[in-house]
């Protein structure tokens, strides 16, 4: 597909609609993974971690925190694409997309971009627990490298 044949405005609109939909249900998007991350940090990091102690000078929380962030990030990302598609099919407003001059590839790219954006928002939100709790510092650059290049 040539770049000039891409419906860029349509694709951009689709992604912006996905993002708007995400923030419309911000409690589900942010609060739910944020509080579940806190629960995991508390159980694995504090309670279980305190019993395990240091392993080769690495605290258990240091080991488990990146995994908890990625767990929420991946879950949210998949949940966004699947729930968006399912909801659109359920209420039939996927027909809005099907009748529009958008290719199937553009639709898939739109769903994937929506999922990636939600994953990043949730991942960054979970990393923010560091401000409130004595947690290890996660490198934002290292995380951004792993999220798009390693996670698929």
């Amino acid at each position: 597909m040539k770049a000039r044949n891409v419906n860029w405005i349509g694709l951009q609109t689709f992604i912006s609609r996905e993002v708007a939909r995400m923030f419309r249900v911000w409690i589900q998007v942010l609060v739910a993974p944020w509080s579940s991350a806190l629960l995991y940090i508390f159980i694995f990091g504090r309670i279980v971690g305190a019993r395990i102690g240091l392993i080769e000078n690495v605290a258990y929380i240091d080991f488990v925190l990146p995994g908890l962030v990625m767990l929420n990030l991946i879950n949210s990302s998949f949940l966004h694409s699947s729930s968006s598609l399912y909801f659109m099919r359920f209420v039939k407003h996927i027909e809005e997309l099907l009748v529009a001059p958008l290719s199937y590839l553009e639709m898939i790219v739109g769903f994937v971009c929506g999922g990636i954006i939600r994953g990043l928002v949730v991942g960054l939100a979970c990393m923010r627990w560091r401000f409130f709790l004595p947690l290890p510092r996660l490198s934002i650059f290292f995380s951004l490298y792993f999220i798009p290049f390693r996670y698929p």
């Binding site: 860029w8 405005i9 951009q12 609109t13 689709f14 027909e95 099907l98 529009a100 001059p101």
Partner: protein, 247 residues
């Protein structure tokens, strides 16, 4: 300039073992107000879904103003506006947002889209309801939003699948007025409806589809000649087919 707004040739569409459309052919001229009638399950909506790209058909060709609806689907779809039977919108979205996003899908640039939305909200008397979520609107307003959405990219062919279903008398008259105005402005309109009096009043040419086949097609006067109502001809055709099948 292509004089045929819509050209369907030998269209076939089946859902599993069920043949919904069995090789129909019809053409609609530019600027025509065309009525597409038939009983429930006859294949009207399936045909419309094939034309608009919602359904993938097995065989046949569809051309919109001479453009192949499969091969050049982007260009063909830009020429079609669809107001479907069901409210297929994001019910939590606000009226203005619905129009904004759909306008974007059709590739309308931001500034032009803003202007176009204001025009269309004004035309359909929806300006005061622009900030309301779709689910909070009355049935008649929802229908108007569906029409506004279909018109946002200024299509040349407007396909209306039972646009007045569940609408009160006053609102129905308003919708008829809008449709007549649009037709006068040069839009080609394909209308399906179970209210035969509205088809009789609005349409110049009519096709009746039954069991996935075109049972009759012609000018309105052919159906109502001899002082008959369209309903009479419609029942004669659809019941006649039923009797032939059972015989």
């Amino acid at each position: 300039m292509n004089e045929k707004a819509l050209e369907i040739n030998n269209l076939r569409k089946s859902y599993g073992a069920i043949d919904a459309v069995k090789g129909i052919s019809l053409s609609i001229k530019r600027g025509e107000f065309f009525g597409f009638l038939g009983p429930n399950g006859a294949g009207k909506t399936t045909t419309i879904k094939c034309v608009t790209g919602i359904a993938v058909f097995q065989s046949g060709t569809i051309k919109v103003f001479g453009i192949d609806a499969v091969r050049d689907y982007r260009e063909a779809r830009k020429k079609i506006g669809l107001a479907p039977q069901e409210f297929n919108v994001d019910i939590f979205a606000k009226t203005r947002d619905i129009l904004w996003y759909v306008g974007g899908f059709y590739g309308i640039p931001r500034e032009l889209r803003k202007k176009r939305i204001e025009e269309i909200l004004d035309k359909f008397e929806l300006t005061v309801h622009a900030g309301k979520p779709f689910q909070q609107l009355s049935g008649g307003l929802k229908r108007r939003v569906m029409l506004a959405r279909a018109m946002i990219h200024d299509p040349d062919l407007l396909i209306l699948d039972e646009p007045t279903a569940g609408v009160d008398v006053e609102m129905r008259h308003d919708l008829w007025r809008y449709l007549q105005e649009m037709n006068k402005a040069g839009k080609t309109i394909l209308l399906t409806s179970h209210y035969l009096e509205e088809v009789e009043m609005l349409c110049g040419r009519i096709a009746i589809i039954n069991h996935g086949k075109i049972a009759a097609i012609g000018d309105k006067k052919d159906f109502i000649e001899g002082g008959h109502k369209l309903e009479h001809a419609y029942l004669e055709i659809t019941r006649g087919e039923k009797n032939n099948e059972s015989a």
